[in-house]
Amino acid sequence: MDLSIIVPLYNEEDSVIPLYEALVHTLNPLNLNYEILFIDDGSRDKTYSLAKDLAKKDRRLRVIKFRRNYGQTPAMVAGIEHAKGTILITMDGDLQNDPEDIPKFIEKIREGYDIVVGWRYKRQDKLLTRKIPSKIANWLIGKITGVPIKDNGCSLKAYRENIIKKIPLYSEMHRFIPAMTSLAGTNIAEIKVNHYARQYGISKYGLSRIYKVLIDLITIKTIISFFPRPLVPFALIAAVAALVSFFSFISGIFYILQSGQESIVFWGLTILYGSLAIVLLFWGVLAELVYRTGNLKIENFASLKIDNEISRNNEVEKR
């Protein structure tokens, strides 16, 4: 299997059939052994029955139905876990992405890139509620993660299978896949893609995502920068606390020399920040422990890099 197309669907009864037809129309001329995965994320309309009818006629279409609505990331994770292709491509189910762009993505992967992300350079969304927040979010994500990508929100992305299957994805992490893979030192390419306004259905996002994105961003950043040695950042903050504690201790001594009285406040601060420093060191050790016992080993990521080299060379040899 060369290629898997992964499409999460949630209440997209109007889009299922046109999307399937457009995909087949684009993929058939490529002479690839491909599969299309529709993940029905607990839709409450006809989405599933339509997809089911299509799948009866076409063995290359696989449909996974969730028991209830879980959200976009779990849908993508399910698609990634069940995909059999060596190249995985994810896209939206609402016809905002253009299947015609897919060949360009495959081309880029063959050039030796590990991840190819789409950039909707002419976005067809409302300016105030969609474009501006996403501009700010993309800038922030780029600044914080150090992976400058112009459009993280575009679902149309292509991955080399051996990489994406090793990335831990949960909650709403799909926005940060490129940032996560920077842990493994992947090559990321960006290409311009077409973007259409929604034809059917309603947009499933609101402004409330901003807080979530921010918190997720902090999480990703700390996890990425902590990755080899989580004790270090904890120790740094502990050092600051210890310094404050020490400073307060000195002030207390001075106060006694100056006025001949004890200052409860200075002693209190000394103890308070001193204990914070010690406890933070404990947290750091605990974090180390969790990393060591978790199944996300540094070796995993190191081996990722080697895997990449091998698969890239294979691709080059094939041509």
């Binding site: 449909v63 028991r67 831990p168 909650s171 807080y211 406040v265």
Partner: protein, 312 residues
């Protein structure tokens, strides 16, 4: 009747029990009327020798009862899990070992499984004392804030469900009370059914204060399980950032007074308080981060979705 078991009835004897023989016959009669091949499994706590004797007597009389004796006292959920593991029916029915509902309601419960994955009994109308009713009202009000499923009677142990659920949903500890809520979260169809309360389901249970505390903790547990298991920092981070903000402003104000107005710090207990806030907020955020790291490093094992069907 085929030899394949269709319905497994599991009766844990953990805390309360009434006359074993009487209840057994009562249940059996009604289970028989469902016309299914059934088995009855008793799970008996280690220190109920009397119950064990009674059950063995029944066995000698030719009643086919599976008896599982626990080596020590476990929670109800653990006992039930042991029962699930040792049962083979596609449909599982759990019943209390005491008079809680009228047994003739059982066929109705099983019938309702045709269109649902889980049926939960709700004792209605209630014959408890007013105080007990108020207590459960408050409990259910709190529960309503947490889950989408309207569960009115978490204390009723009469539940029937399909085996698929326990294959996908893992309950442990004290969580059996919330099993319907968790199953609902996993996308199974759960429904509540009003069943007539037994005349003898009088509240002989006296509730010590610790029971209320446990109930409250249970609700907190379920809240966390449902809302923040995957994203601990969303909760802890918000709390931490808020506290840090308040603490920093207060500290800066006090230090500013010292620098610009010359108010001495040595006798300002407010500084201790504001520093305490900062220290506490850092701790809270650290806890959130550790939680997040745990989730991250185990993300591959956490399945976030339940699949209903795969085609091709």
């Amino acid at each position: 009747m085929s030899s394949r078991i269709e319905l497994s009835v599991i009766i844990p004897v953990i805390e309360r029990y009434d006359n074993i023989e009487e209840i057994y016959h009562d249940y059996k009669q009604n289970i028989k009327s469902t016309n299914m091949a059934f088995e009855i499994i008793y799970i008996v706590d280690s220190h109920f020798d009397e119950v064990l004797e009674n059950l063995k007597k029944l066995n000698k009389k030719g009643e086919k009862i599976k008896i599982i004796k626990l080596a020590k006292t476990f929670s109800e959920t653990t006992a039930l899990n042991i029962g699930f593991d040792n049962s083979s029916g596609d449909i599982i029915l759990t019943l209390p070992a005491y008079q809680q509902v009228q047994a003739n309601e059982i066929p109705r419960l099983i019938k309702a499984l045709d269109s649902h994955d889980m049926v939960v009994g709700r004792r209605w109308p209630r014959k408890d004392s007013g105080f007990n009713r108020l207590r459960s009202k408050i409990f259910n009000l709190l529960l309503k804030r947490v889950s989408d499923l309207q569960l009115h009677d978490a204390g009723c142990n009469v539940r029937a469900f399909k085996r698929d659920i326990i294959n996908e949903v893992n309950v442990y500890g004290d969580l059996y009370r919330f099993f319907p809520i968790i199953a609902d979260r996993y996308g199974f169809k759960v429904v509540e059914l009003n069943v007539a309360q037994s005349d003898r389901d009088i509240s002989r249970r006296t509730y010590p204060t610790s029971a209320y505390l446990r109930t409250l903790l249970d609700i907190l547990t379920i809240l966390f399980l449902i809302k923040f298991t995957k994203k601990p920092l969303r909760f802890f981070g918000l709390l931490g950032i808020g506290l840090f903000f308040i603490g920093s402003i207060a500290t800066l104000y006090i230090v500013g007074e010292r620098i610009f107005l010359g108010v001495g710090l040595a006798n300002r207990p407010a500084l201790l308080l504001s520093s305490l806030l900062i220290v506490f907020s850092i701790q809270v955020m650290a806890i959130g981060l550790i939680g997040e790291i745990i989730i991250f490093t185990h993300a591959k094992e956490l399945k976030e979705y339940t699949v209903y069907e795969i085609i091709n």
